[in-house]
């Protein structure tokens, strides 16, 4: 019999705030974290809005890592993990360290180091790359950074399934604990703003000019962002034994692949992943009280995602909002932030809102986007959506624990 798995700590390092208190307040108020990028690497773009973590200071949070030895993405994730174990009231040194592991999702890994490495390639040639930069580049270091920060020696899995990777990471950690491979897991995701990612999304025509307004009639796209989101997962039994505050239970997850197109959203694949998640979590669609959407704010994603939701939920879908309206699209951290927002919403009794919402797209019938500010609600079962390039779809289902 698989063990029940709960979330007992959350660590957000985000454009709308760092730490559970600041993040929850911003989430409830629908505060926007988008700002204009000032770095020289973005100077030649016609528009430069994004969700930057402008006040990120790794040395104020991490305790064991030397910040000059790790890339920004690893540090965002490790800071988030440190905040999550603190929030959980767990001393990471006082648990059997080989029974504690990490799964972290990412889209670009140390993408900012790629920008620097490319500049060195152009300037001096590949044979003159900075050794320190090369050493910090492998994406596997993201999960290893978290393990090293916490002194844990269990598995450190970096899941690189692009913008759905956060949900993958939570799902993987859930399986690992449920089946007894580990007793504690940090699960989450991280990514950094970088030039090539900005260029790619800009060129695809996916970027909004100024604001990300998912599900709105006038929405004009996504805004890229960065951040680290981490959660501490453990068995329900151990959480109760140590009288931990329990945010939510991870009820299950579902994955699917469109196997159709590398970038175009596909409502059939999305719906398949939702049905698989419900089946695995043992819930009916009608029991879901709230959906934290992928909701990038591009016309095509939101339309395809809503078609999938109507396909699965019929004509009475639950309220559905997008936290990307506040955070921007934090890539590999995005669906980890979604899980985190759901966990906070379940524990504190509110639905996270969709910011910048003026008029719902009439092409999205039966949609309640929870506009403006968070809405007080006693939630029992919620669903978090994550979709990615490569046709990678991932859904997690969370529940409230009495």
């Amino acid at each position: 019999m698989p063990r029940r798995v709960v979330i007992t700590g959350v660590g957000p390092v985000s454009p709308i705030g760092t730490g559970v208190r600041a993040f929850t307040d911003a989430l409830r108020q629908g505060r926007c974290g988008i700002s204009e990028l000032t770095g020289p690497e973005f100077a030649d773009f016609p528009t430069r809005y994004a969700g930057a973590v402008t006040d990120f200071d790794p040395s104020s949070t991490v305790e064991r890592l030397a910040p000059d030895q790790w890339g920004r993405t690893s540090l965002l994730g490790s800071a988030a993990a440190r905040l999550a174990v603190r929030d959980a009231g767990l001393d990471p040194a006082r648990i059997p360290r080989h029974r504690a592991g990490v799964s972290m999702g990412t889209t670009g890994g140390e993408s900012r180091l790629v920008d620097q490495g490319t500049a060195q390639w152009i300037g001096k040639g590949l044979d003159h790359l900075d050794p320190g930069l090369a050493h910090q580049l492998p994406a596997s270091r993201m999960a290893e950074a978290v393990a090293r920060e916490l002194g844990w020696t269990g598995e450190a899995m970096t899941i690189a399934s692009a913008c759905a990777a956060g949900n993958y990471a939570v799902g993987y950690a859930y399986d690992v604990i449920a089946h007894g491979d580990a007793d504690y897991m940090i699960a989450g995701g991280a990514d950094s703003l970088n030039r090539w990612g900005y260029a790619g999304f800009y060129r695809l025509g996916a970027m909004a000019a100024r604001a990300c307004a998912p599900f709105d009639r006038g929405r004009d796209g996504m805004l890229v962002a960065e951040g680290g989101a981490a959660m501490l997962l453990e068995p329900l039994e151990s959480a109760r034994t140590r009288r931990a505050h329990i945010y939510a239970e991870v009820l299950g997850y579902g994955l699917s692949c469109d196997a159709d197109h590398m970038v175009a959203p596909n409502s059939t694949g999305m719906a398949t992943s939702m049905r698989r998640a419900h089946r695995q979590a043992g819930v009916e669609a009608g029991e879901i009280d709230y959906i934290c959407a992928h909701g990038t704010g591009t016309p095509s994603n939101d339309a395809a995602e809503w078609r999938a939701i109507l396909d699965v939920f019929g004509n009475s879908p639950p309220p559905t909002s997008s936290v990307k309206s506040m955070l921007g699209h934090t890539m590999g951290a995005a669906s980890a932030f979604g899980v985190l927002a759901c966990a906070v919403g379940l524990a504190e009794g509110f639905m996270p809102p969709t910011a910048h919402h003026q008029q719902t797209d009439p092409g999205l019938p039966h949609l309640d986007p929870v506009p403006g500010r968070g809405r007080p609600a006693r939630l029992n079962r919620v669903q978090n959506n994550g979709f990615a390039f490569g046709g990678n779809n991932a859904i997690t289902v969370l529940g409230r624990v009495e």
Partner: protein
């Protein structure tokens, strides 16, 4: 604590490497002791740290895979798609929807295609405006392009996951696949790892290995079909995956040696195999003066002091294939499992792998009984 379930079974595999394409060709080359090193100096315009590598200089995506749907493939994707087709065929799994609805794919990588990402980024600097990049090549800059394209090619609508794990990536993929089968997320998983040779990888690897040597590198795509036991009578099991463990540790070589030792101990414990019952150990290997290689050898020396098990170091003949290293190691195990030289009939093999920064992986496999095995070679 772990539920007692029968170990999953490798029912087929596909490989594209300098030592051969397809299980039969690769097996023959390994058992013959073939050398995969070739002159790779003409493959790219960029300079390379050494002229030889264990690569497929003539690998042509369109020639191997046709024109349809392949126009944006990078080398990593081409190698992966080719290997996946071979694995599906070898396992007798369907390669068409709807029968592939719950067949999953998990691919281990290091940086996806470093070349694709870096070349995409380079365009942002060299064009008049940073955004004048080719949008059709943007997905290749992400780590999961090869897995996504492979799913499109074969209609694989189950799980589709990309892992970044460095040299142990194939072991990470096997562990992920085992979990997916155990959790009921898939009916079969195609799991493995792939790496392409490129100027970016060749220069970066000097720093990853920690010694600045231009060692013999390789490229390969290796994919293994993993199915829950028991597999039907019509299917041929190649090996049972008795255990696959991953651990994390500090990066200095003393710590690495202890970490890989601990990882192997855990894997053997879970597999319920005593060290003296290991018949074959396949490592990546590398230059004798490399501190990483030494750390691994010392750990194995402590673990398996007096046993006369067969040793195979793949880097000598297949090159160090970076993210695909452990995949080539497992393929080498499966090659040896075809050989009557390896006794006993239910031989046990161990694969070990070091990550770049103190992580390690180990897996234990047992040859499936097969009455035909004595006649195969």
């Amino acid at each position: 604590m772990s539920a007692v379930t029968a170990p999953p079974i490798i029912t087929g595999w596909g490989i594209v490497s300098a030592l051969g394409t397809g299980a039969a060709e690769f097996t023959e080359a390994v058992l013959r002791g073939a050398d995969g090193a070739v002159d790779a100096s003409g493959m790219f315009n960029e300079p390379l740290p050494r002229n030889t590598a264990c690569v497929l200089p003539d690998f042509d995506i369109r020639e191997r895979l046709g024109r349809k749907g392949t126009s944006t493939y990078d080398r990593l994707t081409g190698l992966t798609v080719h290997a996946c087709g071979l694995a599906l065929e070898d396992a007798g799994l369907p390669a068409r929807a709807p029968d592939t609805e719950e067949v999953g794919l998990v691919l281990g990588t290091n940086l996806g295609s470093a070349r694709s990402t870096w070349e995409f980024d380079r365009k942002t600097y060299l064009q008049d405006r940073p955004y004048l990049v080719n949008p059709a090549l943007f997905p290749n800059a992400a780590f999961n392009a090869a897995a996504g394209q492979t799913a499109i090619r074969y209609g694989l609508r189950g799980i589709n996951t990309t892992l970044a794990a460095g040299p142990p990536a194939a072991l990470a993929a096997l562990r992920y696949a085992r979990n997916a089968l155990r959790g009921g997320h898939a009916t079969a998983m195609i799991a493995g790892a792939a790496e392409e040779y490129s100027p970016q990888n060749a220069w970066l690897a000097r720093h990853w290995h920690g010694d600045r040597q231009a060692r013999l590198l390789g490229e390969a795509a290796t994919l293994f079909a993993l199915e829950p036991a028991p597999v039907g009578a019509a299917r041929r099991g190649r090996a049972e995956l008795l255990a696959v463990e991953l651990v994390t540790g500090e990066a200095d070589s003393e710590a690495v040696s202890a970490t890989v030792e601990d990882c192997v101990r855990r894997a053997l414990d879970l597999a319920q195999v005593a060290p003296e019952d290991v018949d074959l150990v396949v490592t990546c290997g590398g230059p004798a003066n490399c501190s990483r290689t030494r750390a691994e050898e010392q750990a194995l020396g402590r673990l398996l002091p007096q046993t006369d098990c067969r040793r195979h170091r793949v880097a000598d003949t297949a090159g160090d294939c970076l993210a695909a290293a452990a995949g080539v190691q497992l393929a080498t195990v499966l090659a040896w499992f075809c050989s009557p030289q390896l006794r006993p009939r239910r031989a046990v093999a161990l694969v070990t792998s070091l990550g770049w920064d103190g992580a390690a992986g180990a897996a234990v496999f047992r040859r499936c009984p097969d009455d035909r095995s004595d006649h195969r070679l």
